[in-house]
């Protein structure tokens, strides 16, 4: 059974540097970082000290408030360094890999016979529990809770995002195993959304034990939040869990083989990459090992250009990231920029420029803001890129005003910053909409706790 949803609103940003469907290397890094900052709401307590030996799957940190939630090492080796920032905030644990990739043996499972409690236990022990994201708020799922349902998006529409049809094509049996496992966590079933464009050719269209949906449209059609709002909107008091597809495969692998294997194909993308393609790597791999193009004045983004995180040349790939985007920093002034009739190198969704004349052109974008921050003036552009049943500008203003009642009414439970990321992009007033929404969500968490 499948339902088709076609979304009209949205925007595919035409940026250069899509990864070719080839895998150029397998990265075996010396050092791998475990970063507690990858997880919203995770308060780390260290379980190792420098010099300790670890295996892939050995616990490295636990959550202070919910000690069952562990972060584990993705490689075997020894703990080399504990990196702290200001106020001794724990930033990362660096593990020196021994190259053997020996793993803790969790024991291969007979998935059909598993109970919910056993699934939870193994996910927690292996450190894969943190891949379950709870909505509302986008925090780590509560191990005690039972969600209304579980959502998985099998396609990614974000700019230059990794194409799961390619990157996970060899992992389809593991994805199926992962879904079978996750299905035991909720009575509401697993909703599985595949993209309309590749609906019949996708390796995932024969996945079973799911409620299948076909979703079409421009970005953010692939965002699981948008899909939820069209399939089964989140109301006050509901919780829904989501898992990204590469991590579903990792969960499947864990239960099928008994070993923690977070290896994934990472798309190295962006206009500043000389040969955009895929590499096979682990989360926590140093940027320098992933690409040689990270030079001076290049921004290295873990994830896509809309929602990604600035990693820097010395950074490490995050737990959820399967994409690296390299962009030129746009720190140059442009004479008469806004006043020029034509700016052929720049893309605009607005017909105030002429990029509508070249609909197929891909642009070499940089990080320039293209203007100064202003008060909200034009707001229809937000609605044009938000295919959800809500008024973005009212939600944003409610977040700014920290008015909980209004935030609830305007749909704060349904969105994460990523769902409104395009508002950031199109806003002529150059507001940081994602930060506003993120602050609103943090405020909700604080007040509703």
């Amino acid at each position: 059974m499948s339902n088709t949803i076609h979304l009209k609103k949205g925007l595919d940003i035409p940026i250069k540097g899509v990864a070719a469907q080839k895998t150029v290397k397998t990265v075996a890094p010396d050092i791998v970082a475990v970063k507690p900052t990858d997880f919203k709401g995770f308060l780390p307590r260290l379980l190792v000290k420098e010099g300790d030996p670890v295996l892939a799957g050995s616990p490295v940190m636990a959550d202070k408030s919910r000690p069952g939630i562990l972060l584990t090492s993705p490689v075997s080796g020894t703990v080399q360094q504990i990196v702290r920032g200001e106020k001794r905030k724990l930033l990362a644990v660096l593990v020196k890999a021994d190259g053997k990739q020996a793993s803790v043996d969790f024991g291969a499972q007979k998935i059909a016979a598993l109970q919910s409690a056993e699934v939870r236990d193994l996910l927690l022990r292996s450190g894969l529990w943190v891949s379950l994201v709870q909505r509302p708020y986008g925090i780590i799922a509560d191990p005690e809770a039972t969600p209304k349902s579980l959502f998985i998006s099998a396609f990614n529409t974000a700019p230059l995002a990794a194409d799961y049809d390619y990157s996970l094509s060899a992992d389809v049996p593991y994805v199926q195993a992962g879904i079978d496992v996750l299905g035991k966590l909720t009575p509401g079933g697993v909703h599985f959304c595949i993209g309309e464009r590749t609906a019949s050719s996708s390796p995932f269209h024969k996945i079973e034990n799911v409620i299948m949906h076909v979703v079409g449209g421009k970005h953010p059609a692939g965002n699981v939040g948008v899909q939820i709002s069209h399939i089964d909107p989140i109301l006050k008091g509901d919780t829904v869990w989501t898992v990204s597809l590469p991590l579903v495969a990792a969960i499947g692998k864990l239960f099928a083989t008994g070993k923690l294997d977070l290896t994934r194909k990472v798309a190295i993308t962006g206009p500043a990459v000389s040969d955009p393609a895929y590499v096979t790597a682990l989360p926590g791999t140093p940027v320098a090992a992933l690409t040689d193009d990270a030079a001076e004045n290049i921004r290295v983004i873990g994830g896509n250009v809309l929602t990604g995180e600035c990693l820097g040349r010395e950074g490490y790939l995050g737990f959820f990231q399967d994409q690296l985007t390299l962009l030129r920093e746009g720190n140059e002034k442009e004479w008469f920029g806004w006043a020029k009739p034509f700016r052929p190198k720049l893309f605009s969704t607005s017909a105030c420029y002429f990029s509508w004349l070249t609909p197929r052109k891909k642009y070499d974008m940089d990080t320039n803001l293209h203007g100064g921050p202003r008060a909200f003036v034009q707001t229809k552009c937000f609605e044009d890129v938000t295919p959800m049943d809500l008024f973005p500008i009212y939600l944003i203003k409610a977040c700014l005003a920290k008015d909980i009642e209004k935030m609830e009414q305007f749909g704060i439970y349904e969105v994460l910053p990523e769902d409104l990321a395009l508002c950031d992009y199109v806003d002529p007033s150059k507001n940081n909409i994602q930060s506003i929404v993120a602050d609103g969500i943090d405020y909700m968490i604080k007040e509703m706790a």
Binding site: P233, I301, E334, S348, T349, P428
Partner: protein, 382 residues
């Protein structure tokens, strides 16, 4: 702007010797060059569009109306003075008449904007680029410059700065300046003697606008217009007395096409305003308030100009798409209602827009509340 080129780094920056001029220098700098600011939070790439580009589009859309207005100023002058002027002479005459108005509008308005930004330590925002161009177009050409200066100052200070600047204001600043003039100096803004500027040394002439003619005429409006030598097409072309920019429907429609194509102004507001005007005009004709066909309402006075350039101001109009239909419709309907049933005012567009500016948040509130309750119901039954 020359000053900018010789600026040494640090001199005008905060904490520098002339740091108190930071906002001003920054405004000139960003006017000439798009700044090198890079994204720090949120999306790493951004669209090329910014408010400067949006505002300049509105100014470009106003250019046909402004150019035609200048020509019409000269045309009306030569007509009433009985002079045989050529096209360029007429245009030149209008240009010379209009230039001081533009200069006063921009100098006074921008000075206050800069001073305001300076005091608040913020960037100068570009909203006045449009307001400063609009104001000379919606007043009679004979408006004394000192009066215009006061009106502009009032509009910018009390219409905008006290609310926090562009994006925060409740009423359209340009219309506010006109309303200020209208109520403070009614004899300069209405009546029959203000619409035509005659060459020096000649007696002032009186000329009624078509709206005033129909207002006076009572029952036989079309006849009265014809007696003045105006057919519907004359009104549509715009070679008639009136505020400078408002007379030519052709020039305004050219601007409307640009605004709609670029998405800078909402076509929904324009369409619904025209619909509202037509409906009330038709009802008025049906009910015997006038014998003027309803489509005449669109080409007389400031109806079209207000619909295209003032009602669609994204800051002061309704924000929700459904709200825009209601807001625009009520503007058109109210404007024509005032025209037909209020003997005191021949024109109702200005007041209709200002009134609906006031109620736009209420319209939005109703639309949003309805949406929320409908959604809650749907989700509960689902």
């Amino acid at each position: 702007m020359e000053e900018n080129k010789t600026t040494k780094p640090g001199l005008f920056e905060k904490g520098g010797k002339l740091g108190f001029l930071h906002s001003t220098v920054d405004a000139f700098e960003t006017f000439l060059r798009v700044p090198d600011t890079v994204t720090r939070k949120g999306a790493h790439v951004r669209d090329a569009i910014d408010l400067k580009r949006v505002m300049i589009m509105v100014v470009i859309a106003l250019v046909p109306a402004a150019l035609f207005g200048m020509y019409n100023v000269g045309y009306q002058a030569s007509l009433s003075a009985g002079l045989e002027w050529g096209f360029w002479k007429m245009f030149w005459y209008g240009l010379l008449k209009m230039l001081p108005l533009f200069i006063v509008s921009y100098v006074v308005g921008l000075f206050i904007e800069f001073a305001d930004a300076q005091i608040k330590g913020e960037e100068v925002n570009e909203g006045y680029l449009v307001s400063g161009f609009l104001i000379p177009l919606i007043v009679p050409v004979s408006t004394p410059l000192w009066m215009l200066a006061i009106a502009v100052a009032f509009a910018v200070i009390f219409g905008k700065c006290v609310f926090g600047g562009t994006g925060m204001n409740i009423w359209n600043p340009a219309l506010l300046s006109r309303a200020f003039l209208f109520f403070s100096y009614p004899s300069y803004l209405s009546g029959d003697s203000v619409w035509i500027s005659v060459p020096k040394g000649m007696d002032a002439v009186t000329a009624a606008t078509p709206l005033a003619v129909t207002d006076e005429a009572g029952r036989h409006t079309v006849q009265a217009l014809t007696d003045n030598g105006w057919s519907f097409w004359d009104l549509f072309n715009g070679l008639i007395p009136g505020s400078v920019g408002e007379t030519s429907a052709i020039a305004i429609l050219l601007g409307a096409v640009l605004l709609i194509w670029t998405g800078v102004a909402s076509w929904k507001i324009m369409v619904s305003s025209v619909a509202g005007g037509l409906l009330i005009g038709w009802l008025g004709q049906l009910g015997g308030a006038t014998d003027l066909p309803c489509y005449y309402q669109l080409v007389m006075g400031g109806f079209l100009f207000g619909t295209v350039f003032m009602a669609t101001d994204p800051v002061t109009s309704a924000q929700t798409e459904c709200g825009k239909w209601i807001y625009g419709f009520l503007i058109g309907a109210l404007a024509v209602t005032v025209r037909l049933w209020n003997p005191g005012y021949a024109e109702g567009m200005m007041l209709a827009i200002l009134l609906m500016n006031t109620f736009a948040p209420l319209i939005d509130h109703c639309v949003v509340s309805r949406h929320i309750s409908r959604r809650n119901k749907k989700l509960k039954t689902a």
